[in-house]
Symmetry: D2
Subunit: 143 residues, 4 copies
């Protein structure tokens, strides 16, 4: 298991006339969580794109339990449980202190510049394998 934690402060732009964060605006927070998780294990998504890979979202879901509000200091927890083969599945939790506000999930595939699904480059596979094994040896990831 690889875990990353990302702080988010709610922007006024992210609220809607219901006075709370518009539901679609949680998805970019998940995306920030992914970027940080990958960076934490030594994969800059930017470099991945520069190397000709893309990691589009094939599937997303979210459940909204309590509303987030303007200027809230939140934390997004991003979790990778399984070694990614062709697909990567990530899970998310959005918290304000101890309160769980929302949970989510995304599924991704590596594609090349022609849009075809491909295996990730070897160095990426290796980073995932190393970090997932670390976790299995009982180390606390990303304390």
């Amino acid at each position: 298991m690889i875990v990353a934690r990302t702080p988010v402060t709610v922007r006024y732009a992210e609220t809607d006339m219901m006075g709370v964060v518009y539901h679609a605006n949680y998805l970019p927070w998940f995306e920030m969580g992914r970027t940080v998780l990958l960076k934490d294990i030594g994969i800059a998504y930017r470099d991945l794109e520069a190397a000709g890979f893309r990691l589009p979202v094939l599937e997303v879901s979210a459940r909204y339990l309590r509303p987030a509000r303007y200027d809230d200091a939140l934390e997004v927890t991003t979790v990778l449980r399984e070694r990614p083969l062709v697909r990567i599945r990530l899970e998310y939790e959005v918290r304000r202190g101890d309160e769980l506000l929302a949970t989510g999930m995304t599924v991704h595939a590596f594609i090349d510049l022609q849009g075809g699904i491909v295996r990730p480059p070897a160095w990426v596979t290796q980073r995932f394998a190393e970090k997932l094994n670390d976790g299995k040896r009982g180390q606390v990831p990303n304390p």
Copy 2:
């Protein structure tokens, strides 16, 4: 079954550096679809809010099959299959001509101004009942 069709033209603002529409930007299209479906059966969501009701998103999911691109002329099909009691479940399909680009689903509940889950106002329940019965009598909704 109640069905609504909503045209959408992709904005440049909705694309990302992958050259296609950013996945979160499909969710406002679903929202436009809901607004139109409700309006088609005589419920202006605006009036619903003015009457003290809110219909927040409790759950959302989407699957992305083919990318949408800038300036594409799309159609969002919004479907209500079951008579809503406390919860409303809506389904969505995004198409470019004959191509299915994405599917989605949202679950909503009626809440009052204090945020408590409530039954929808009687006139709303009635509109849904009438229209769902129409569908059962074999009429083609929203031709």
Copy 3:
């Protein structure tokens, strides 16, 4: 003078907790106005990009006179007054019926794929010239 008119229906996603449209969300409406103005005179911005040209925003300004609200049916009027040389300047007005809600302005330059400022392709220059001359001959543009 070239004038284009573009209908916009306000999305819930575009509102903020003030209960009105968030100011930044007028800018994609201006962008829709530009797309339509160019298309009206035979220039698909999409083709322009496919031909290796980009038309980034160098400058933007907006004034907000009256708030736009969810589900409002608006019209964006986009105006090109001067024949574009290296720079293009466009003006915008957002109206709800007779009420003027906002005005705006953008300045653009043609750039190539390396990001250098370039002259627009000849066919583009010609379209602008033809249409601006039409206007001078007293025809009503885009009635």
Copy 4:
């Protein structure tokens, strides 16, 4: 002069198909800068709204000098030069290290819940006066 500095990391969601940040997405960064500047001088905008005041944007402008890109670590500098009376004018600079990417300006007015322009509450005026005087006495604001 009151100065606030706000870090921003560019989200994938903020880019467009030109491969850089979409121009409208700088405006929420300005908003984050405002929130921080007010908070730095002891004014939580959230409390201001709770007290029945709104501070809408009446005017905005921005100039784009160099593109911002995905995952860039930026800094937004927000400056208040003049003591606000009925209107507040704020200026912004967006930098990536030493490079100036964009500048901007917003004008705001205090309005009450009915939308009428009002003077700011006394405690707000006082905070601004104190801090602007501090600056005049030669102290370095927000080091």
